[in-house]
């Protein structure tokens, strides 16, 4: 029988507001096993924790129940408290009387009654708890960063600088990501390439960093500290280690009509190409969809001109297995497709473009060498209309847009407007917005400069329709402040498309067993306290895969993720989760049901000798759980018909005791 | 107290004292809530103790009937009822029914005899009841020898009582032994059966034997070598029981019910039973 202490937290008025905490403490006093019951304003505070520690010692407690906020919040805290007082941390149970009680109920009687039941349930469980000891597993001192944009680059550099090996896997032929496509950055207007490319070079030259470009992760096995990852290195038909990146082949290749994705299809590249001048790694890649040689076997120009003999048409996809201790997802974002936004005539007129396309048009390395011209006729646009929130904050049109705010559009549109007016003062620039959101250092000043110093017309209003009329675009919008309809002619319309997580994130999340929200952004372990960790141990989040961010935020989050990774890799051993499956060999049938459902392959079998009746020996096949591999899902416990398999910390008897306590 | 007509319905009693005898043996002193002895028993008898919801189990009464104040149970931790009892505190109520079984023939076959008590480990629990009965009715019995052994010094139950009372009783010879050498132990070291042979008792004694099966087996051989006949040796059996009154069938061995016809058997009676105990 346990000696249980119950500690009811007020959480200020968060709990005490709707739950009579004293009544709860009083009621739980008489539950079986309870020898001490107390309540306090903030159990998680230093003083609250001291209270618990003292009670553990004074009342010789063998188990404690804290009625407080969600265990997802403070279970760890109270386990540490218990441990500090000499109690096994797994003798702690939390009754969630805040998130699942006081916050959702208004009636004090009702809230109090439920809190008592929840407390009783936790007590029933603790009565059957047993001290658990965590097993240990080694840590592979190498990190994997998936995604080579600014987020991945920064994370990789920070980890590598701390002395750990890092691999970057990037699907594109070069790292750099979206930032490489940008012209200038807000609010300082420094040149994106000027600040990014040195970092790319740092990555390329860092002895601890290895880049797998033109590659993807296809399988992830294992667990924190011991991931095993299969990377598919796609054939680029160019020997990466030999190619000097001289670019001769990309000039001689006869296949010239390949849409250049780096410039968002606004110009062409060759079938063999280097995405841009500062690409890292700076090696050529053959696009098998367009290469005549690969498609028909007739051509071979690039091979002929290559002085380094780097061309290899027979190259195959390569699969590399590598072990890692930690994985960082940095898969980034994309603007959403504008196809569904027909009212803005994106597909009807070449002169309706997205902001990212505008970014390329303004870029000196872009398709127009930085000259702002209309894609349709190459003429300088006199009147430009920017439309904000295209697909963002789109609660009413969820089927084509996103409910969330894409966060960066207000600022880059201000930047675009400003840059346009700066370079081409004769251009008339109008911005249609719903709200202008500028919460960031120097952001509002930046926006005001655009509106006030640069004479950008900001109109609060929705654009209803854009239709090509002759070589002009007719913009129909409403001016919400003036409360009138506006019909406006424009030469160029720029749509601030919402951003969404990269499509590769969803399958990756499945492989990582990391959870995602409804928008396919990775979920963080805690939105406030653990924003760069995924709930899956050993998986960290960097950049826009977790949610829309601008560059400074991305870089700081990348650094934070790196710090977490470094913290993990710095350990030689990891304490495992002791809540793992365990098979009672006396009851095990050796039927393999558990093995079949185990997602981690943590169960193996062995033939073991048992004493049979009358001094005989029986050999039986029995299951063994590898505790370092088991993650404690408990699937095997239900697959096991004999009940030999149970889960420590969530034992059948414990759960049934909880059921009993609730239903009482 | 216990209405014999309601054999299965227990009385509520209270644990009034708990003594930790060895790391896994505790002795519980039990009285009715109004402070009386729950029942009058014979040495060697048992009683059913239970905690509702945990279970009921049969334990031998370790105190002597001559103790007019209380009854005691010495209980080794093994199984759920005993585990629960070991976690219980003074003041805890439990239910008690009994006494059950035949007990030792202290007033008949033992009377006037030289007694040899041999026990191993927790096996001393039922024997203690007879030893103290004999000590309290000293005139009715001849010489008394006690051989008691355990794994280690720490596993000797009633150690205080043995040292302070039995050893100081000039009419009783106490022979203690432990299985292996241990610091702070200057007594005999070795297993009980060989110690019994070493001590070489007269075969005119009546022996009471209780302990683990392996000890009983070899001690019996030893006693036989010393010239004891089966009619001179008594032992007490422990089987899984539920009702305690010879009805539920669990403790049925041959035509005997251990709870009713036992638990005390003379070795020659036991020999008659099928080997299923």
């Amino acid at each position: 029988m346990q000696r249980i202490g119950v500690f009811v937290c007020w959480c200020g008025s968060n709990i005490a507001g709707t739950v009579d905490v004293k009544a709860v403490a009083e009621a739980l006093k008489n539950e079986p096993g309870v020898v001490h019951s107390a309540n306090y304003q903030y159990m998680c505070s230093q003083a609250g924790q001291e209270l618990i520690k003292d009670a553990i010692k004074e009342h010789k407690l063998t188990g404690i129940v804290v009625c407080s906020c969600s265990p997802r919040m403070h279970e760890g805290t109270f386990r540490k408290t218990a441990e500090a007082a000499g109690l096994n941390p797994y003798m702690v149970e939390i009754a969630n009387i805040r998130e699942q009680c006081s916050w959702i109920h208004k009636d004090i009687a009702e809230g109090t009654e439920k809190a008592i039941v929840l407390g009783r349930t936790a007590i029933a469980k603790v009565n059957l708890n047993a001290p658990l000891m965590a097993g240990e597993s080694p840590v592979t001192k190498r990190a994997l960063v998936i995604g080579g944009g600014i987020a991945g680059i920064q994370t990789a550099l920070d980890i590598a600088d701390a002395g750990f090996e890092v691999d970057i896997v990037e699907t594109k032929p070069t790292i750099g990501g979206k930032m490489a496509q940008l012209d200038k950055t807000f609010p300082t207007l420094d040149c994106a390439a000027c600040i990014l490319t040195p970092k790319m070079v740092d990555v390329a030259q860092h002895e601890k960093i290895k880049i797998y470009s033109y590659s993807e992760v296809v399988d992830v096995r294992g667990f924190v500290g011991n991931f095993e990852v299969t990377i598919k290195k796609r054939a680029r038909f160019v020997k990466e280690d030999i190619c000097t990146g001289c670019g001769l082949c990309t000039e001689k290749c006869p296949q010239k009509k390949v849409p250049n994705e780096f410039n968002l299809g606004m110009d062409n590249r060759r079938a063999i190409y280097i995405p841009f001048a500062q690409a890292v790694p700076k090696v050529a890649t053959i696009d098998p969809n367009y290469c005549t040689m690969l498609k028909t076997g007739k051509c071979g120009v690039c091979a002929k001109v290559c002085t380094a003999n780097a061309i290899d048409y027979t190259q195959k996809d390569e699969f590399i297995d590598q072990k890692y201790g930690a994985i960082v997802a940095a898969t980034g974002f994309n603007p959403i497709s504008m196809e569904k936004f027909d009212e803005f005539a994106y597909s009807q007129s070449k002169d309706v473009i997205t902001s990212l396309e505008f970014e390329r048009l303004m870029n000196a390395a872009g398709p127009t060498a930085g000259k702002l011209v209309r894609p349709s006729d190459g003429k300088h646009p006199q009147k430009i209309v920017f439309v904000q929130c295209v697909g963002s904050r789109c609660a009413a049109c969820a089927e084509k847009g996103k409910e969330y705010c894409s966060k960066i559009c207000c600022m880059y549109t201000a930047k675009h407007a400003m840059l346009t007016r700066d370079k081409y003062p004769d251009t008339d620039v109008t911005v249609f917005y719903i709200d202008v959101r500028t919460p960031g250092k120097n952001f509002d000043e930046f926006y005001r400069r655009a509106a006030e110093e640069y004479g950008v017309h900001y109109i609060k209003g929705m654009v209803g329709k854009i239709s090509p009329e002759g070589d002009k675009l007719m913009v129909r919008a409403s001016d919400l402040l003036a409360n009138k309809q506006i019909n406006m002619e424009a030469d160029l319309v720029v749509l601030a498309a919402a951003i969404e997580p990269d499509k590769s994130a969803r399958p990756l999340a499945t492989m990582l067993t990391a959870s995602m929200d409804t928008n396919d952004f990775f979920t963080e372990a805690h939105p406030k306290l653990r924003p760069v960790e995924s709930p899956t141990a050993g998986v960290f989040l960097s950049g826009c895969c977790q949610g829309p961010k601008d560059i400074p935020e991305t870089v700081s989050q990348a650094g934070a993720a790196a710090a977490k990774v470094i913290g993990l890799l710095a350990k030689d051993k990891l304490k495992g989760n002791p809540c793992v499956a365990h098979s009672d060999e006396m009851m095990c049938n050796g039927c393999s049901s558990c093995e079949k459902v185990c997602p981690y392959g943590a169960i193996t079998y062995e033939d073991k000798e048992f004493r049979g009746p009358n001094r005989t020996t029986l050999i039986r096949r029995i299951a063994k759980v590898n505790e370092a591999i088991c993650q404690g899902c408990g699937c095997c416990t239900v697959a096991c018909p004999s009940g030999a398999m149970d889960l420590k910390g969530f034992a059948s008897k414990q759960i049934m005791a909880e059921v009993d306590a609730i239903c009482k | 107290m216990n209405n014999i007509n309601e054999a299965l319905i227990p009385a509520v009693c209270e644990i009034v004292a708990i003594r930790q005898d060895t790391p896994d043996v505790k002795t519980f002193r039990v009285l009715t809530p109004d402070g009386k002895k729950p029942f009058i028993h014979k040495p060697g008898q048992c009683a059913m103790l239970s905690m509702p919801g945990v279970g009921e189990a049969l334990f031998s009464i370790t105190s002597s009937p001559t103790n007019k104040e209380y009854i005691e149970f010495s209980i080794k931790k093994c199984g759920c009822v005993t585990e629960w009892l070991h976690a219980a505190e003074v003041g805890q109520q439990i239910t008690v029914r009994g006494p059950y079984g035949n007990g030792f023939p202290v007033e008949t076959e033992f009377k006037g005899k030289d007694m040899l008590f041999i026990a191993g480990g927790i096996g001393l629990a039922p024997v203690r009841s007879v030893i103290n009965y004999v000590r309290d009715n000293r005139a009715n019995y001849g010489k008394v020898d006690i051989v008691y052994g355990s794994r280690s010094k720490d596993d000797l139950v009633f150690f205080e009582e043995i040292i302070n009372e039995w050893k100081n009783d000039p009419t009783v010879n106490v022979h203690l032994t432990i299985d292996r050498e241990q610091e702070g132990w200057d007594g005999h070291v070795g297993f009980v059966p060989s110690y019994v042979k070493e001590l070489g008792f007269d075969s005119n004694k009546t022996a009471v034997l209780c302990g683990p099966p392996i000890m009983i087996k070899f001690t019996l051989q030893g006693l036989a070598e010393l010239g004891f006949s089966n009619e001179q040796v008594f032992t007490t059996l422990e089987l899984r029981m539920k009702c305690g009154i010879g009805k539920c069938g669990r403790c049925n061995v041959g035509s005997k019910y251990v709870c009713k016809d036992g638990p005390v058997f003379r070795m020659d009676q036991l020999e008659e039973l099928p080997d299923e105990y």
């Binding site: 006396m586 009851m587 095990c588 049938n589 049901s593 029986l618 050999i619 004999s642 | -």
Partner: protein, 329 residues
């Protein structure tokens, strides 16, 4: 076709015993009446000559005995297996319950086993002998003289709805192998499904209330080979020994059916042995039927090593809510 009678089987067993292939063989033993055949083990042909029987009442399936028997020594055990027995045999192999190297399986044909309870339902108690002649069963009674009945009418339920006459495992086959059959075994399940929930509840309430928890269904079941059943294990939290009330009757039978779901070969033993005549096979068949319709046809035991539906999944599986509504027509 060679007539398979007891002599053929005794000769086969004798041959295997004397050439050392096996040192004992599971076979049927005749009883005091025509129908009380007991499964037993024979060590010599002589014993077999005295007691072995192979007739319409040899329903007992030896597969489950092999779990314990094969662990006893290193010798091979012989066993006669009817087609449906081989499914149980295979399923046990799939679950690694014994080593097939220690068994010599002799496949024997089966044209259906007779249910003496059905005969008694026709003619009452007082049956002195039962013999079969072609497709007729001749019953000699104490009170009403000799009676005849069509064998098809008094076959065991499982034989009336025989799913397969094909042996899915054997070391040696005696006679010719049959085919997997199209049976109507789900008809009764469908009938129940078509009832209203109230009717179904009443039906099962009535049936399960007969249960005396003798565990015969479980102990005879070739899928129930657990070292220790959860219902016998005080630590499982669901141990219960008696059908203390309606709930516990349901609990036992639901959980038992669930534990064998996907592993049950539909051998029908549970219903055959139930002393209270509860149609337990209708629970197992419901699971089989659901599995077939939700996840595609699956016959437990058909293939050694096949993955049971409950230890498998597809990403497109139907939702529990759909499953419940599917059964509702």
């Amino acid at each position: 076709m060679q007539k398979i009678n007891r002599e053929v089987l005794i000769n086969k067993a004798n041959e295997l015993l004397s050439n050392g292939t096996i040192n004992r063989v599971f076979g049927w033993e005749k009883g005091d009446f025509s129908y009380d055949v007991t499964p037993t083990i024979y060590f010599t042909a002589d014993q077999m000559n005295k007691k072995f029987i192979f007739d319409d009442f040899c329903g007992a399936n030896f597969s489950k005995y092999l779990v314990a028997e094969t662990k006893k020594d290193q010798n091979k055990v012989g066993v006669f297996l009817k087609p449906c027995d081989t499914y149980s045999f295979n399923q046990l192999l799939t679950e690694h319950r014994f080593d097939k190297e220690k068994v010599y399986a002799i496949g024997v044909p089966c044209d259906g086993m007779v249910d003496e309870k059905k005969i008694k339902a026709f003619f009452g108690e007082g049956i002195s002998s039962i013999t079969s002649e072609g497709d007729e069963i001749i019953v000699d009674t104490l009170y009403d003289g000799v009676k005849k009945v069509k064998k098809a009418d008094v076959l065991q339920e499982r034989c009336q709805n025989c799913k397969s006459k094909k042996h899915v495992y054997y070391d040696e086959l005696i006679g010719e192998d049959g085919e997997v059959l199209d049976s109507n075994r789900f008809d009764e399940v469908e009938k129940l499904e078509k009832m209203t929930a109230d009717e179904r509840f009443a039906f099962w309430q009535n049936e399960l209330s007969k249960c005396i928890r003798c565990n015969a269904c479980r102990d005879v079941c070739p899928a129930c080979t657990c070292e220790k059943c959860v219902f016998n294990n005080p630590n499982s939290g669901v141990e219960n020994k008696s059908p203390a009330n309606e709930f516990e009757e349901k609990m036992f039978h639901i959980i038992r059916a669930f534990h064998v779901a996907g592993r049950c070969t539909d051998c029908g033993e549970c219903s055959r042995v139930c002393p209270q005549g509860i149609p337990l096979h209708l629970l197992n068949r419901k699971f089989i039927k659901d599995i077939n319709s939700f996840y595609g046809n699956y016959q437990a035991g058909e293939q050694e090593g096949s993955r049971a539906p409950l230890t498998n999944y597809t990403k497109e599986d139907l939702e529990p809510s759909e499953a419940v509504n599917k059964g509702d027509n």
